[in-house]
Symmetry: C2
Amino acid sequence: MTSTELKVTFTPSGRRGTAGPGSTVLDVARELGADIDSVCGGRGICGRCQVTVGSAPGVPASETALSAPGPTETDYRGKRPLVAGQRLSCAAQILEDVVIDVPPESQVHRQVVRKRAEVIAIDVDPVVRLHYIEVSEPTLDDDSSDLGRIQDALEEQWGLTGLTADESLIGTLQPALRQGKWQVTVAIHDGAIITGIWPGFRDVALGVAYDVGSTTVAAHLCDLTSGDVLASAGLMNPQIRFGEDLMSRVSYVMMNPGGEVALTAAVREAMDDLIGTLVSEAGVEREDILEVTVVGNPIMHHLVLGIDPTPLGGAPFALAVDKAVRARASLIDLEVHSGARLYILPLIAGHVGADAAAAVLSEGPHRGDAVQLLVDVGTNAEIVLGSSGRLLAASSPTGPAFEGAQISSGQRAAPGAIERVRVDKDTLEPRFKVIGSDLWSDEDGFIDSIEKTGVTGICGSGIIEVIAELYLAGVISQDGVIYGEHSRIVEDGRTKSYVLGDGSPQILVTQNDVRAIQLAKAALYAGVKLLMGHLDVDAVDEIRLAGAFGSHIDTKYAMVLGLIPDCDLEKVSAAGNAAGTGSMMALLSREARAEIERVATEIEKIETATEPKFQELFVGAMGIPHASDPFPKLGGAVALPERKDPTGRPERRRRRNPGSTT
Amino acid sequence: MTSTELKVTFTPSGRRGTAGPGSTVLDVARELGADIDSVCGGRGICGRCQVTVGSAPGVPASETALSAPGPTETDYRGKRPLVAGQRLSCAAQILEDVVIDVPPESQVHRQVVRKRAEVIAIDVDPVVRLHYIEVSEPTLDDDSSDLGRIQDALEEQWGLTGLTADESLIGTLQPALRQGKWQVTVAIHDGAIITGIWPGFRDVALGVAYDVGSTTVAAHLCDLTSGDVLASAGLMNPQIRFGEDLMSRVSYVMMNPGGEVALTAAVREAMDDLIGTLVSEAGVEREDILEVTVVGNPIMHHLVLGIDPTPLGGAPFALAVDKAVRARASLIDLEVHSGARLYILPLIAGHVGADAAAAVLSEGPHRGDAVQLLVDVGTNAEIVLGSSGRLLAASSPTGPAFEGAQISSGQRAAPGAIERVRVDKDTLEPRFKVIGSDLWSDEDGFIDSIEKTGVTGICGSGIIEVIAELYLAGVISQDGVIYGEHSRIVEDGRTKSYVLGDGSPQILVTQNDVRAIQLAKAALYAGVKLLMGHLDVDAVDEIRLAGAFGSHIDTKYAMVLGLIPDCDLEKVSAAGNAAGTGSMMALLSREARAEIERVATEIEKIETATEPKFQELFVGAMGIPHASDPFPKLGGAVALPERKDPTGRPERRRRRNPGSTT
């Protein structure tokens, strides 16, 4: 260090060192390893590198610490106009000792707070980065090719070496260079491969995060640089025409060998249709999409990839592929940029899918010390339990009862379905809410509000609530038997049913319905207890209920029925669309991909089918509330509060939330 | 080494070491690094590992050196039955000190001698290897996937690690494993990526080597393991409908922007059609083809890849891509195995293409000490000069005269074209041969033999011969002027012509024709001289004339006219289809790919257009024979011998040789 050198400190990174007078802030940041974003490479075009002068003990903010704004800054006409005090770090020169503040939006690695069904912070560690380069023109004396000169420019202007060009790019290098007059922007995927090239300067790199559920396919269009969500959309999974639930779709393939081709085509078409919706909503082009991530349960995962799912329909539930898949987006027939890449999160086990992996990424049980129980209920309940020390996963065969299947009046959560129920403890009269209406059935205008659909059946959250309410009202015993004499209790042969809806069709809660829910909840509870045994804990610190079921059921009723183990009610919450959030995290962050690949390998898989203990726990969990976990505080007389939507948004809108999948 | 260990020597590798009694020959070979092939991994299925007992000083061939043939060998029913003395090295156990002979056909790296237009030895270093594996079945206790268990089997049974599966394979792993009852054969490309999987044992891995010329597209179907050529086929390049020669096709694109799409589609379709011909001829399937290599001049190279070739139509002749291209075969629309890979050899410079690189690989000037001149004449002459010490390359703008274009009666080499000419020194009467007939024009039956075509024109080799003959007969001066009075010499205005054919159409050799050939040959000669100057040599040790032109012209006439520099006539020869051979070498050998990529980078490119010396040399080379290189031994009275076909095959058949491209 010579005496003329100046002391420079960058915040918040804390990087510090010395610089010669007149060095630009950006050059010094690069030298010291401070994180400042740039697409144009310091040419005063992109405006990504804006900083302010900060202060530190002994180094007050000085107006003369940086050179006065020159023409690059005063003429700057970027997308984000320079406001007072903001400087382009590529233009501002360091003249005195200085502290430079780098705001989050000028950092390559930044944290964005996502506010959808849930509030979650996502660290952006871009999978794709754009680099503007000025490529030397070909001359007779220079025998290098267009690609060679692009590689040279990336090395000289960005210090990037060893880059290869995607094969889909080979035909586009030449016209882009000539159209851009030897100035182009390239997209570099994962620091290794050039996947896009455009003439001139460009600042758009988008990606789509999918959450492919059995019922709904959801997609989010994100800006890969800022992490902003530009649009979200959802569609019914068109595979439903081959079977309402997962197992019926597997049966379809079993009975129609080769039928997976139709199932694959159906879901891929829906995924591609969603891109059309997203780009139209955001006013962008399909070609702007450079990255795609997908999560889904093992059967959806296999079908998206064109793999026959029938081995997943029976023991030993053998997966074809379980590690993360890196491929081209064209592999699954998505019409996006020709160099676009596909990333599918790893599966955890035969019944614990990429959706569960994504939920783990989102909820982060492995990042904390608290013992977290993360449950995603579908045809199978995917259960993850543990903390930073150790993480276990299992799948429990709940069957589709929680989704309204195998219930006499059950149906999917759709307009017309009863979703909330209250039973008067004295009169045993019910009142309920139906999807599509904001009114309770005893409120004025209810009949008019459901004119279009009528009351068609009862969905998963409704059946949970009515059985819990009937238990609290004393109509159902701890053993799950419907008993008593009342005008609402009808008898058919040897069993009784409760009449929930008097219209047409009549909505009954039958003894078999109660048994189906008992079986499902016992399976879920037994799976959780099995993991608790393996982890050697008696209680869990927090419970996160992921997915649509987790968002729609009232956690208190879940505890009344004994779906989940004892836990401070304050610590039980819906995780919202955790799988979709995890998909988005993998879309935006290389580190997130590395993290979930590591965690998915480390998670201990417990196979419920081969654990003798599971059967024992299952039988023991049939009662309401199960014998081992009585809830005296939730006795028959307790007044349950009205359910509050955890998102705080109106229920009608949340129903349409494309992020909700089952 | 303990006293019980036995001494084992493998020939021809010379690998030696010790082994415990009872070790199998294959295990010991692997331990000592001796090269023995195997697909089945030592299970007595493939028969690839056959060896014999040899001898060495002090180690006589002993019948008891190996265990007596057991059931694996006596029951062996492989494709190559065991003949007396042949042993399966996976079954035979070593009982005494022994010398093991590994015949070439049992080596992974072997040398095959190719005998087509030329005899050449190709070292096989397989780009694709097949490995038979027994994969463990999935169980409830094993949470790995099909792919994971395949990777485990490859590591356990073959010691292969770090392999990834091609994305096209993801959907096929599962059915292959189940159909093969957990026994499958996988194809591994370049030691890194699994590109194919088949149920059970399989021993077929094929590849196609293309040579895409402006006139002809040729393809050879090869067994990637043995190096055998199973079939060869050729087609006219359908791009001819867009322009006869290269430059007219570039002009087509210049005048029809986007026209390269049609040119690309045309050549790719021809390439795919050839696969149909090849697999039908060899009785194999398109799906058996796992590798494809392509060579071609820069314009063909770009068009095959879908790149607009117009920048190659003028200075600075900028290539879009020059390094070797590794991609999927599907990139160029070939219907072969879905995991098949495409390899395109590197280009050397803007006018020196992958065909020249392939010719270098085939002729190997860089492998010897002799100064070799390698010339491929097309619209441009691609010239390579040098030896192991230093290699130079240039392209010289000969124009299409050598291909019969710009010649008054010129035409492509096709039935009806005059290809050989003799002129009587006394009478000046000509006699000639026409493509499609084996007879000279003065032989009985000639007229009948060309009944179908007639005499339609004169092709490149014909125009060379007639001008050389007219020079030797004194009709053309050293300056290239047609002079004299004779019934065969007609005058049109200020210049004279020689009447070669009296029929209809009349075939004339005009003064302009002579000038066109003078310009072309001066360009070629000047290019060669320019490189000789750079290499600082006065003479070359050997001359190899590649391509169709090189095969068809009589090298002596080439020297009479001064196309090529002074050289011992014995050392001047046709290289045949050197580009096609080089394509095949790259198909069969990883080492060959590495070699040409290294050499292509090391070759010094000389740009004729910017070398002032080139113009000077060009002007000096216009005379016949050029002033700087008189050929007194080839004076007017010398009797030139009849041309002999270097392949020794009838000319009619050679004309159809699909390996010939221009």
